[in-house]
Subunit: 324 residues, 2 copies
């Protein structure tokens, strides 16, 4: 596409790379804001997340996956609420050294994902920085009134369940840093491309839910505390991928505390657990996903306890990520 | 407020500083996303802008004004569409060296502004960076269906109008950089605290509108091009503040091209100009604001031409800001 030389660089940059991502509400990315009629009879759900080079992704990660990772992290927030994606906005602070080829790949990845997950770009802003690349994404979704799943709602006795497998993302980061072998490539791929569980049918099933982004142990403890409860996790029941198991038991702590999972952690009342146990999977927009019972909520002192296969409490060097 | 030591640093940071900004939809900033019922019978308007330290604000700008500046820039986008503010989300990439006192002042400023402009915090994210501070803000507003004012809609013969005064922000930056005297303090104050024209009654009056953020000349040219028109500006009619005039005629170019105005530039059909000329002001949420006719749209070649008091075209070293 030819550069429109009558326009300042910034407009031509946005036109070249982002206009093909824009939906009708974006008004061609040429106005001060996007305008749309909200879906009739639905509540809106909105969240924002930022990613910083060297913190959430690596400078030599493929451009094609960096934007998708951020979009997928945000989609995971919608999935945790049981919401349907509607649209997204992106701001980016560009550092020197990222050329047109980089942004073509960056936007190409985003285009594939927005098609798959059924949403489109509403707007955003580009600016420059002398520091690391910073991306910020706002995601907008919708849900039937009263059907959003909150973090609050779990009761003592509810089971603690999780989608998919835990630890692949954290191990993938170690692989990319050179500290771990990954013959199948599965771990690095999960670090770079989380699999948001969009469309997970939590309404009528889960009493509370959140997405696991900062480490299973920390996030489970957080879910328990929000409900004034404690939670016990049986480490041996935590679902690990074949690639994660192949790393050996010395990597279990990394799996349980490492972060970057983007699975959904949810509480299920006892009366609904048997049929879920029998099914073993739930449907998502991307197909069926296994679900596993890994623990239970209790009324005793708040917090999280992880038990090993002998029922003894495990101790960890750290329980998860804090972005400060 | 005591630090909740049972929580990771990040949660306690958000709790300390941001929870008092959160409205009911934010669910106490404790969930994966905010949930709200959109205002009945209205379209939603949404925009996002980022600000980077050393690009959009200075490291020694008061913390109290930095967040407000970004919020006000976003409010200016809503004002340009004729939309009413509803809510906002903030992501921030913190650099080392910004302490609790800094964030208290930062959030204090935001609290005053969200009260004044009638909106509340919906959510966001905090993370860390080794580079300059990066802030990204998404703003959500609403408008009656079909009443959003677009950039497209101006006709040849329409007058070009602008709110308030032009150039104060750009001169204020020069003052803060030590290159210009500002005995009244007006210029620095306008650089740090733009005055978004929220509530400006553009519906039924303006055929097109945008906010002036990257320099009057560039933005006017952009508005003309979007409409397949040219625009002529009479430099002598561009409204300057007393403080800007006191800087002397050698600063006129800075005023016309400098950016950081956050005034509203709008096109008015001839039939509506006489009464507007007589009134000379329009109401906003913050009180009446002067409006001035500074030029006219034409059918000839697209672009912008600025004429001096003798009707001769003026030439500028640059026409505005491009954030690349």
């Amino acid at each position: 596409m030819p550069t429109r030389t009558d326009l300042p660089q910034e407009f031509s940059f946005i036109h070249r790379h982002f206009s093909e991502l824009a939906g009708p509400a974006a008004l061609g990315l040429k106005d001060d804001a996007a305008v749309f009629m909200p879906p009739a009879g639905r509540e809106m759900v909105i969240a924002a997340d930022a990613m910083v080079e060297n913190v959430h992704f690596l400078p030599d990660d493929p451009a094609e996956t960096i934007g998708r990772k951020l979009l997928r992290c945000n989609l995971s927030d919608l999935a945790a609420m049981g919401a349907r994606p509607e649209g997204w906005l992106l701001t980016l602070a560009r550092r020197p050294g990222l050329d047109d080829a980089w942004f073509s790949a960056f936007c190409g990845g985003l285009k594939a994902d927005q098609t798959h997950f059924g949403l489109s770009l509403l707007g955003g802003d580009t600016t420059s920085t002398q520091g690391p690349l910073v991306l910020s994404l706002t995601i907008l979704g919708s849900v039937l009134p009263g059907q959003a799943i909150r973090r609050i709602g779990a009761q003592a006795g509810d089971g603690l369940w999780v989608t998919g497998t835990i630890g692949d993302g954290a191990l993938g980061l170690r692989v990319l840093q050179g500290g771990l072998a990954d013959p199948s490539g599965h771990l690095a791929e999960r670090y770079r491309l989380p699999r948001p569980r969009v469309g997970l049918p939590l309404h009528g099933l889960a009493s509370a839910a959140m997405d696991v982004s900062d480490g299973l142990v920390q996030d489970a403890g957080h879910l328990a505390r929000e409900n004034g409860l404690s939670v016990t996790i049986q480490a041996s029941t935590v679902p690990l991928s074949e690639a994660a198991r192949a790393c050996g038991p010395e990597w279990l702590e990394t799996c349980l505390t490492g972060g970057d999972d983007y699975e959904i952690l949810f509480a299920v009342p006892p009366a609904r657990e048997e049929s879920l146990m029998r099914a073993g999977v739930l449907m998502t927009l991307s197909g069926p996903v296994p679900v596993t019972r890994i623990g239970q909520f209790h009324t005793s002192a708040t917090g999280v306890q992880v038990l090993d296969e002998n029922g003894a409490p495990m101790r960890f060097k750290k329980t998860g990520w804090s972005h400060l």
